[in-house]
Every structure is written in structure tokens, then in C-alpha cells.
Amino acid sequence: MTDLRTRTEAAPAASVPSSTQSKRFGLSRWDAKYTPYLIVAPFFVVFAIFGLYPLVYTAWVSLHDWQLIDGNQGFVGLANYAHLFGDANFWNALFNTLSLFVLSTVPQLLAALGLAALLDRGLRGSAFWRAGVLLPNVISVAAVALVFAQFFGRDFGIVNYLLGLVGIDPVDWRADTWASHLAVSTMVMWRWTGYNALLYLAAMQSVPKDMYESATLDGASRWRMFWSITVPSIRPTILFTVVTSTIGGLQLFAEPALFDPGFAANNSTGGSDRQFQTLVLYMYEKGFRLFDAGYAATVAWMLFLVVLVVAIVNFSLTRRIAGKE
């Protein structure tokens, strides 16, 4: 507040006598130098409290034998990390995380592209359709998971019933690794396809129409126009959605957790043999079922590094594609 006042006072300062002018001038220089920092400070303060501090604190915890209730039991250095690298369950969780990420993100983004292209054609009642595709995203994830868990029920699920109609034996969706990944991915896709479609749609609307017109004059097909004009034009948006779904996908928790009936009974291993246990689920198991906060913090840090690596890959991709244009 004071800074704003000095700024408004500093403006007419040019006309006042020189003795005070230098002082005022100094103040306005201070103002010009530091005010921007003060203005952006709230973000950094909030970031430091809610972003940086937990990050550093988690790193600190991961270097200790730390029990959830009883707290610090002594410094162990990198022992937790050493154990982690030899922990088959960690690698299993990492594999599941990446597999679920690929299985849900790739079809999801392709479907979102198709959906956006359809919505971009100017259907009747477009507002209705646009609101409609966002609907899955605003429904509580717990409700979604509850319904999908029923769909994919082994004994009385609709999916198995439908498969039975075409002569396929019932699938035990929670027992088989790939079946469970497919089921969980379906849930993720259902929730996020519409959201991404709307982002693509917004980008598509800003593609200049005359490009399509000249392409039509040249006799290009709709398919050709889509891949040669639409997709390249909305590249930045595609990359944005790739990055956000990467971060979201790698932190997958609620869907597989609620898909596992054992989660409610504290057997939160993501399947009887950890078939769909993601990294976050594994962290939850260690931290909140086994109360080993130190190890859970280690898993959290590894997850952070994995997300970081994937984010860097995506960043370099962004630059390469931007350079091409």
C-alpha cells in the first residue's frame, strides 16, 4: 500500500525544488527497483510455504527413520533410497504408473482431438454439447469410481454381462494386470477426455478460416485439412495438455485406490498382487498403513524426480516443435 502511495507522489515530484528532488528521486528509484518484487512476492511467499517447504521437509524426512506417530527415530542418510532401488514393489509401482499413464493418456488425447473436431463443426445446440463433454469432469471422482467399480464387477458387472452376450468368458478385472489397467484407464479417460476436448476446441476456434478456404479450393479432403492445418495450428495447446496429463497421470491415486475393494479395508495394495498399485498408492501404503513416513517420503521424492524427468522431456519436445515452425 505504501509503495503505491509513493509512486503517485513521485509523479509530480519533477516540479518541486531540487533540494527535495534528489531525495524524492531516490525514493522513486527504490520504488522502481523493488516494487515489482513486492508485487510478485505474495506468489513466492505462498509458493515457499506450500511448495518449497513441504518439498524440502519431505527430503529431510526421507533421510530419517521416521515413524508416522512417533516421529523422528534417527538419521539414516541415504539408506531409504538404497532400499528403494532394490525394492521390487517400487519398480512394480513405477511400471504400473507408466503403463496406466500411457494407456489412459494416448487414447484420451486422440479421442479429445476427434471430439473437438466434431464440436468445431458447428453442431446444432453447440452450447449443450460443449457443456455436456465437461460433465464427467465435474462429477466427484469418488462417485465415478464407485460406478465404474460396479461396471467392472467380476460376478455381477455390466461389462462382463455384455462380454457374455458375445460369448466371451467373464474377466476378473481386479486379478489380471492388463485387465485392471484397462479398467482404471477407462475411468481416467472418461473423466478427462471432455476437458481436453474443450481446450482443443478453444484453440481450433482461433485457427484462421481462410486457411481452410484456400485448402478447399486446392481440393484438400477434410481428413487432410485436419492433419495439415488444424493439428499443426493447435500444437501449443496439444503440448500443454500433454504436460498437464503427464503430471496428473503420474500422480494417479483416487481411481486405482477406489477400484480396489481392499482399499476401504486398509489392504491398500492396489490388487491382491499389486496389479494396479501406482507410485502414489505405494506411498500411501507405506506412510499410512505401515506408518513408515521416512520411506513414504523417499517414494514421494522419487515420484517428484520421475515427474521432473518426464516434464523435461516434454519441455525439450516443445522447443523442438516450436523451432520447426
Partner: protein, 420 residues
């Protein structure tokens, strides 16, 4: 990890706000006590009465699912704030919280030791530490074992339906497995039991030492009783006689409603769950009888008082009142939660109680006699970490993913990691 900080900020905000409105914790000069519970303790009416007779006390119940309750409590104890004034500790986790007893009030300071005679010895001992010097919690109910079965499905399989006759079919769990074979031979499309995991848990709850010896040393791999229980349950799974269901899950409820399994293990508190899942359409179809292998205890809780609370004395008075014999008797009549006090479950009125839904089964008598003969299992400090490992192993057998032997080997390895 940020939880702590967020918590402290939230707490500061709350304090500032509370100061602004003149202290909400003692609004109108009343002392507010909170009760952290899970499922149904049957306290609603009792609390109203207590508030009426203690005009300076206001009581708030917080109910969440049991597992959520345990996790929340752990984080609240770790954070040093947020826990209810009185918290329920389930038998399966009480040993785990006993290891952190410095976070709880020693109820002996308020004279809890004078109440010792109210409870069955084993129940009292489960709630104490340091050879009885530290009183962690006062016992609420207990989960003495019975076995529930579907009369109509038994009849279809040519088995007796009268509960005394059924009890004679299975004096031991080996006999129970034989009945399963007979049942499956006649009606192969109906599962004999909901899940091997509950059978396993029930057998284990009938032994005095399970995963841990009474000196808290880990003995699962050399304890024949654990292996026998596992093999019995796994054999049912291998023969596809189990529904391979997650106990008490949504699918378990659906299966109950569809009548797709014929028996299930029944601690006293499970009757309410079965009734809720099977619904009114199945009234009179379910019945309850004596479990194979004698008495056992599964579940039941304690009321403990975290140190962080502001009114330990008042909290103690309330916990003492809620767990007193008169109240336990009333709770049994209203909800069916079995009292953990011999005087109460031997009471003529309790013994005469029948459960209409379960074909008028004399539940008072069945559960009380099971309680008389039970040998409580010693729960090790890490019992709640080891138990689930064997449960998921049995699920793998039921799912056909592993042989019983492989599942056992993997479970032992995982359990070893969990006790480290």
C-alpha cells in the same frame, strides 16, 4: 508432510477466529467433548441422556469408516492436534496404538483400575500396558464368534437347517471343509463361503498366539496354527468354494443380496452388516449357529483419551459411563453389539435375546456361550501390518493366480518385510 504445516496454519486461523467469537470450545460455559467413532457404537440415545443429566457438557460424535478413523487418528496424534477428546480403538489396532501410549492419557490416574472387575480379564488386559499399570482404554463391545448360514441354500443342498443340527455338522474346521465338499457336490453353482480370508481370520482368532508370541516376538513362520489356518482357507479357495470376495465390500453386499454364498463367519457385530447387505427380502433366510473350533474373538473396541484433549477428566467420566454395565446392556438390546463384561452377557435378559431377522436365533445365548469358551489371541504391536499380507495371499489363491504354497511363501516374505 505438508499436512503438519497446513494443519498448524489452519489451527492458527481457527484460534484467531475462536478468539474473535469469544472462545467456541466453551461456548455458554459448556464443556464440549468430541467422540471419534466408526460404524455404530449405539451411543446416540445415551449421549442425549448424558447431556440432559450433565447440563455443563456438550457432546459431539464424529463417525467415519473404521480404516479412515485409524489413519486420521494416527496423523492427529503425530501432528499433536485435531484428535477427538475420546477416540475408539479397535481391537485389531489397539496394540499398534499401545506402542505410542505416551500420546494417550493413563486412565489409571483417574482411578480406572478400580473398574477392572467389570470386564472379562482378557478384555481388560488388551486395553492396558506395562503389566496393567498403564490403562490405555476402557472396553466397549467384543466380537465373539458365531457362524451364519442360509437356511434355504442348505436345504437345497440336502443339509440340515436346524441350527443345533448344523452346529453338529462342524465341531472342527476340518468338518466344516467336509460340509463344504458335500454342499458343492449338490449345488456347484453356489459358493459355500463368501471369502477364505474370513475363515482364515476366524481360525486364527481361536488360537492364543497368532503372528506374535506373547513376548511380542514374530513367530508366524514357525507357528503351525497360522499355517493350518492358511491351508484350510486356501483349500476352500483352490476348490473354488469361496466367493473370492473382499469382506464387507460393495461386491460382498451385492453377493449377499443375490444369495450367492451360503455361509459366513459371524462375530456379533457382523449380524448388522449381513442384515444391511441382504436386505428385508432375505429376512428369516439367514440363521446363526456355533462356529467350528470353539469360541474366539474378532473385533470389539476400547475408548481411549488422547493427551492433546483439553478436558481429560470430563472425557474420562463420559467414557466410564458409556462403558459401564448398564449402558452395555442397553447397547446390546438396541444394536446387538456384544457386551465385553461377563456380568452383562450372563444377564438373564441378555441371554434371552433373540434376533428376529436371523430366524429368531437366540443370539444372546449363542454369543455369550462363545464368549465363555474363548481364548483371546495375543495381538502383537505389528499385528495390523502383518495380517493384511496373509489376506491378500489368500485372495491370490482364490483368484487362481497362485498355488497355496506359492502364496504362502510370498506372504511370509512380505510379512518379514513388514515386521522389520
Amino acid at each position: 508432510m505438508s499436512r503438519r504445516l497446513v494443519g498448524s496454519i489452519a489451527a492458527t486461523l481457527v484460534m484467531v477466529l475462536a478468539a474473535g467469537c469469544g472462545g467456541s470450545s466453551e461456548a455458554n460455559g459448556k464443556i464440549e467433548l468430541s467422540l471419534g467413532l466408526f460404524s455404530d457404537f449405539g451411543y446416540d440415545k445415551l449421549i442425549e441422556e448424558y447431556q440432559a443429566s450433565h447440563s455443563n457438557i456438550k457432546i459431539e460424535q464424529r463417525k467415519v469408516k473404521m480404516e479412515q478413523h485409524n489413519t486420521q487418528l494416527a496423523t492427529q496424534l503425530a501432528g499433536g492436534r485435531g484428535a477427538a477428546d475420546i477416540v475408539a480403538l479397535e481391537e485389531g489396532v489397539v496394540s499398534q496404538f499401545r506402542a505410542s501410549k505416551d500420546k494417550f492419557v493413563n486412565l489409571a490416574e483417574y482411578g480406572a483400575k478400580d473398574l477392572k472387575a467389570q470386564w472379562a480379564d482378557w478384555k481388560w488386559n488388551q486395553g492396558t500396558a506395562d503389566g496393567g499399570e498403564f490403562v490405555l482404554g476402557l472396553g466397549t463391545d467384543m466380537g465373539s464368534l458365531g457362524l451364519c448360514y442360509r437356511r434355504d441354500l442348505f436345504e437345497a443342498a440336502g443339509l440340515p437347517t436346524d441350527r443345533k443340527e448344523v452346529a453338529k455338522l462342524w465341531p472342527t474346521w476340518a468338518d466344516y471343509a467336509k460340509v463344504a465338499d458335500q454342499f458343492t457336490a449338490k449345488t456347484p453353482n453356489v459358493k459355500f463361503v463368501d471369502t477364505g480370508r474370513n475363515v482364515y481370520k476366524a481360525i486364527l482368532d481361536q488360537t492364543e498366539e497368532g503372528y506374535f508370541a506373547k513376548d511380542d516376538s514374530y513367530i508366524a513362520e514357525k507357528n503351525d496354527k497360522v499355517k493350518t489356518a492358511f491351508d484350510t482357507a486356501a483349500a476352500l479357495g483352490t476348490k473354488k468354494q469361496t466367493g473370492a470376495l473382499e469382506p464387507f465390500s460393495q461386491e460382498w453386499n451385492v453377493a449377499l443380496k443375490q444369495g450367492s454364498f451360503a455361509t459366513t463367519t459371524c462375530p456379533a457385530w457382523a449380524l448388522a452388516l449381513i442384515k444391511a447387505g441382504a436386505g428385508d427380502a432375505a429376512a428369516g433366510k439367514w440363521d446363526v449357529t456355533t462356529a467350528p473350533g470353539g469360541g474366539g474373538n474378532w473385533g470389539g473396541s476400547f475408548l481411549a483419551i488422547p493427551k492433546q484433549g483439553k478436558h481429560p477428566k470430563e472425557a474420562y467420566e463420559l467414557a466410564k459411563w458409556l462403558t459401564a454395565p448398564e449402558q452395555q446392556k442397553r447397547i446390546f438390546k438396541e444394536t446387538g453389539n456384544l457386551p465385553s463384561q461377563p456380568k452383562v452377557y450372563q444377564d438373564a435378559e441378555v441371554q434371552a435375546t433373540v434376533n428376529e431377522y436371523f430366524n429368531k436365533a437366540p443370539v444372546g445365548q449363542i454369543f455369550a456361550s462363545s464368549a465363555e469358551s474363548l481364548k483371546p489371541t495375543y495381538r502383537g504391536t505389528k499385528d495390523s501390518k502383518v495380517g493384511p499380507v496373509f489376506g491378500t495371499a489368500l485372495t491370490r489363491v482364490e483368484q487362481g493366480k497362485q498355488s497355496a504354497a506359492d502364496a504362502w511363501t510370498q506372504a511370509l516374505k512380505e510379512a518379514q518385510d513388514a515386521v522389520k
